[in-house]
Amino acid sequence: MAAVFNSISPAEFFYRNRHMAGFGNATLAVYSTVRELVENSLDACEDSGRLPFIIVDLVDESHDFVSVTVADNGTGIPYQHVSESFGKMLFGSKYDTRQKRGTFGLGATMAVLYGQITTEHAVEVHTQTGTSGGHAYRLLIDIEHNVPIVESDSTLDRDGPGTTVTIHIKGDLKRAQDRILEYLRMTTIVTPHAKVLLRINRIATATLGRWTEQLPSVPVVSKPHPRAADLEMLKRLIAENKQKSVRSILVESFQQVGDHTAARLLRHAALDSRKVGWSLSREEISRLSAALKSFDGFARPDGSCLSPVGRDSFLTSVKSVFPVSFCSYGRRGPSEWEGNPFVVEGVLASGDSVDESDVPVLYRFANKVPLLYDASDDVFMKVLKKIDWSKYCVRGARQVYVFVHLSSTRIPYRAAGKQSIALVPEIEAEALTLLRGLARELGKSARELGHRGRSVKKMHEFAKSFRLIAKFGASLAESDIPPTERLISGLFEGSDNGRVD
């Protein structure tokens, strides 16, 4: 019997597998739509060199329909690319090698697609690249052919450059809103120069940031590291440079490869360095590809394409968002995993909390995006659990928070939902060294505190009870839990007010 083979378009494929992209249920759909749009907005602002100001507007419409609007003051989208950016899967500006929040220009289109299928609404895009002359569009996706359909396109001035996108989707706003608020709050931890306004049903619900005016370093576009090249990439590079020698192809296409290194590599691959592109056989190309992986003569990848948060900004944002007293910052890298440069940086903080646990609370970030789901499978969670925190006076003392941020040209996500980082040995090793170092700092500070005045144990017990007073007092008064850290540390640092009787 003859089987019927059908090819499906990427749009159709992603709709069928929407759970992989984070659109599996009504709550997640709202959350993921906000997330994708906010990430695009922040990337656009970073490119513009302006301090980002993002407005997120969520409105409950009839029949579980939610409209999600995200406005930014970024670069705007070049008008010739608008329709494809939102109306075609796997189209985007993010294929170059530098750190970006989004990866393949997939997410926002996924949201558009999901919205279109659940509500039959077009996406509304209003963008402006200069000081005037913006454009407003209504777009749909031709799912079968993966091409955009422009319903309308009109010139419309916007108050300054930037982009406003409105997507109507079927979703559950009530259940998603806490998650979204948490997501935005965490976003400002790693993007502390951004200001984010959240409005729910036209009521201003939260204003977050800006914690610092300091702009992050702009990541520089760089050539890929040779170890990051797979066979497909290599074939493409050779096809594009048919007339050049294999040596110059290597030198021109990759970083950390000069004439000298290229010569050594080709000797390692047993290839004639003068051979030109077109004359390479299939077998030779795959030998070269294998040699790129096995050759150990490359220098580490260049980290200038990365943009970590940085010591000052990271410490400032953590202190702005969490009631913490002790805070320390550490950073490892740049290192590489399979040729992709990465930096792991982290802040370890301790302070007031009523929900004490023996293990620190972990907050994970990748390329300035907070990861809120699937923590248990994450490489950072594994590292956190490897450390014996009781050695560093964590137990029962103060609540300890760990913030870890991975910057890389490529984040090894476990799944398309982009919520947890795979167990890559190189990343794991650097993260472990980083957290151990931070934990030692914490231990030192806790011991110093203990030497001064009264025993740590007494203080821990006191603090524990006192935080319960604040917690249950607040639950009685139906108010927020008042901060207790200052009172407690004041009592134990002021040495001779004789309160311990």
Binding site: S465, L468, I469, S475, L476, S479, P483, R499, V500, D501
Partner: protein, 350 residues
């Protein structure tokens, strides 16, 4: 429950006071009426024990106080949660619940003490915020009560509905009497006697609401007795074993206990102990046991207790001391099953 909004207010105010103080960067402090025996005085006017004027300061900045301070605030928040959810709990349940909130008590005695702290601080009985003791006593009689608890609001129950008597729980304690054929309340110490009085239809004969005390009765039982006494104007008679312990059960119902000196609205000053008195033991020639050392010691204590200063009480005490014997309620059974109803109670309640 009419007073529930009020009770809730008091708890919320307590929380606000604590939170405000922390926000002002001051350690919260609470003044709690002192419940130690030095501060308990018998108020002849009210006919019950009351707390004196001494207060103790609980200061959360003191290492010695901070733990019990936290426990107290937790009990208050637990109480408020109970009120908000219209639920009830028991002292034991409260003790076990504490662990889920990260609050630790050494034993239930400690958590009971903290509950009493909250009572004296707030001036409310724990029953007001839904915390009841584990044990139940029972009631039986010709009274119809109307529930006020959610779920049963407005439903009525005839207290003769079960031949075993009806357990006195939170719901019955807060119910309102609506109809009654009864003329007296008769409280008896042990379950055997309670069952006997139901079976022999003594409740019909004496037009009595029967209460099974089961030793020292829970406060909810005392509440219900007081309610029946106040609302239906029923005189209260107490029938216990003939020993210092039984006598004291009656005394607590009449004038209150030192443990609950901070609580009002439990005592029934004009309730009467009908026996078994020392005279009854002699008059009815009841089979009896010799008193042991503990019994004698208890009599000595009671002789000095300010609640027993009345001549009638002193007479009972010296009667027991002279007799050095004690008799249980069931002792009347030597004269046959119905003797206690036909003869003894008929005499006493005539």
């Amino acid at each position: 429950m009419v007073e529930s909004t009020n009770t809730r207010d008091i708890l919320v105010q307590l929380g606000k006071k604590v939170v405000q103080s922390i926000l002002n960067e001051e350690f919260p402090r609470l003044e709690i009426p002192d419940r130690s025996t030095d501060n308990i005085v018998f108020d002849p006017e009210q006919g019950q024990f009351v707390l004196g004027t001494t207060r103790v300061m609980r200061d959360s900045s003191k290492i010695r106080h901070v733990k019990s301070f936290a426990q107290l605030v937790w009990v208050a928040s637990f109480a408020k949660d109970l009120l908000d959810a219209s639920r009830t709990s028991s002292l034991r349940d409260l003790y076990y619940s504490s662990e889920a909130f990260g609050v630790k008590f050494v034993d239930q005695a400690e958590s009971d003490r903290i509950v009493a702290d909250l009572e004296s601080l707030s001036g409310m009985a724990r029953e007001d915020f839904g915390v009841f003791p584990e044990e139940h006593s029972s009631v039986y009689g010709q009274v119809t009560m109307r529930y006020t608890v959610p779920g049963y609001l407005g439903r009525e129950v005839d207290l003769t509905v079960s031949p075993d008597g009806l357990p006195i729980g939170p719901a019955l304690m807060t119910a309102e009497p609506v109809k009654s054929n009864a003329e007296i309340v008769l409280a008896v110490e042990c379950g055997g006697m309670f069952a006997r009085l139901i079976e022999t239809r003594a409740w019909e004969r004496f037009k009595a609401v029967l209460i099974h005390l089961g030793g020292q009765p829970p406060r909810s039982t005392r509440r219900l007795m007081r309610l029946l006494h106040d609302r239906l104007d029923l005189p209260v008679y107490i029938f216990t074993d003939g020993d210092p312990w039984g006598m004291h059960i009656a005394q607590v119902i009449i004038t209150g206990s030192a443990n609950a000196a901070h609580i009002r609205g439990l005592t029934i000053p004009d309730a009467r102990w009908i026996g078994v008195t020392p005279e009854d033991i002699v008059e009815y020639s009841l089979p009896c046991d010799s008193m042991n050392d503990a019994d004698i010691k208890r009599l000595d204590e009671l002789a000095l207790d300010s609640r027993y200063t009345g001549p009638e009480w002193q007479q009972h005490i010296s009667g027991f001391k002279d007799l050095r014997r004690k008799a249980e309620q069931q002792a009347f059974s030597r004269y046959g099953m119905d003797y206690v109803v036909d003869t003894y109670l008929a005499d006493k309640l005539a």
